[in-house]
Symmetry: C2
Subunit: 249 residues, 2 copies
DNA sequence: CTAAAATGCCGTAAATTAAACACTAAGAAC
DNA sequence: GTTCTTAGTGTTTAATTTACGGCATTTTAG
């Protein structure tokens, strides 16, 4: 090292928890590591941040290099910087999550990746991931759970046209809860954020459902007037009762 | 620079938005910079992270070196890493906010600080701060607003024994809203998170108010059973009506 | 052609929660 | 003892949330 002090011996990276939704399941895109350290384990896509690159830019780059997708929802979540988190040196990492429509997804040829796969989020959380990526995944999943309640970001995971049942299943997957069909539909429709495009599902072996589109302009307009999106996970009545008793004591 | 590649030409720092509450006002602790760059401007307390130091540890260190306080509420908020945010090189910074009881506070002798002061948060946000600290302050204030609604962290800003009116004023300051006295008291007391210690204010020129303590154990116990703390900023009825009409269209 | 299977779609009553609102009580200062 | 200041308290009304069952539409199999 030359005259510079050793504050400049460190590096930073971004890691990206890329969520997708398919067939009622919430998934995360992982890469099987082809080289040490942690060879053979699943890891989050990530990369060192270039010297002249903003953090968000780096996160978008990682995403695009991997999936070819450009305009996706991306949000910074947390920075992980334990001294020993990276075996090869001091590398802190800024974690992002992004939401992509699996239907848009095309895997890019990627030199550093041996193997890329959509894994069910629950399964991924249970398996051993490289580095501190279990912790990162968990943190980002919690952030998603939280975000999805207060912002209409769930739509980022669905194709442009979707049915109310698909939307409900998405929420159920993210919130790990069951929702009442009638109440869910009532609530979502009452927000008037969905455009009824007068189209119906095709090729389904049952009564086809209406298709809707998320009306982003409408949302922004309402938001500007103080509207706040909110979906709650239904606290079941039994639970509420038990809690009320506990509090009463 | 020697053989190391230039990913390792960068550094990272922590910056700490230290909130306090005094006399009905929410304050933030700032340092007047004694040296270039940004000499003479107010700045958030912060420092480079040592090579062998975890991020949280660095944030606690900054806080303790400045205030002497050890056990305080501290939370990571966001990482700021624009290429041009620091004039002297690539320095990304991890922003934290912390909540301290001003009554506990004793200013430490601090070599690098010319001048340390509690500034009203609104005033601080309006003035020009060093670096990107306006942005950081704003982000952390928003994070506090948000956090205070869903976690009982406000108590960290109050002395151990406080009156309900003080608590209400705290919430009003953080949420920038007015709350109905009776409804607020009803709601807070119904959570049974406060211990009535049968003590009263002294030395006030009016009827003394009861003092309460926050019961942390109780909170943790309830939380474990699914209790969720929640304070809403009252959506005034007029606003709600206007919004409802907008949605109906 | 009919029946069965699958999912879509609808509305109301009851319970809970939130909002609005005004007077009496206690102590200190004069 | 009068005045001043803040503390403390309950009820009614409106809004929101929850619970809940049955008929409708389409495809497929027989």
């Amino acid at each position: 090292m030359n005259g510079e002090n050793n504050f400049f011996k460190s590096a930073f990276s971004v890691d990206n928890v890329i969520f997708g939704f398919d067939d009622g399941d919430l998934k995360v895109l992982l890469i099987k590591r082809g080289a040490a350290p942690f060879q053979g384990l699943w890891a989050l896509p990530g990369d060192l941040v270039y010297p002249n690159e903003d953090l968000d830019t780096a996160a978008y780059r990682v995403l695009e290099e991997l999936t070819g997708l450009k305009k996706v929802y991306l949000e910074q979540v947390h920075t992980f910087g334990s001294v020993e988190r990276h075996p090869l040196g001091r590398v802190i990492t800024i974690a992002y999550f992004s939401l992509v429509k699996i239907s848009d997804f095309t895997l890019m040829a990627s030199s550093f990746a041996q193997n890329v796969e959509w894994l069910n989020v629950d399964d991924a959380m249970k398996s051993e991931l490289a580095f501190d990526h279990n912790k990162i995944l968990e943190t980002c999943f919690n952030a998603l759970m939280h975000r999805v309640r207060i912002r209409p970001v769930g739509f980022e995971l669905l194709p442009p046209k979707f049915t109310l049942t698909e939307l409900q299943h998405l929420y159920e997957a993210i919130l790990s809860t069951e929702l009442d069909k009638r109440n869910f539909r009532k609530k979502i429709l009452s927000m008037s954020l969905l455009t009824d495009i007068e189209e119906y599902q095709e090729g389904v072996p049952h009564r086809p459902a209406k298709l809707y589109q998320f009306n982003k302009e409408r949302y922004q307009q309402l938001e500007a007037h103080g509207f706040s999106f909110e979906v709650k996970e239904s606290k079941k009545k039994e639970k509420k009762k038990r809690l009320a008793e506990l509090i009463a004591r």
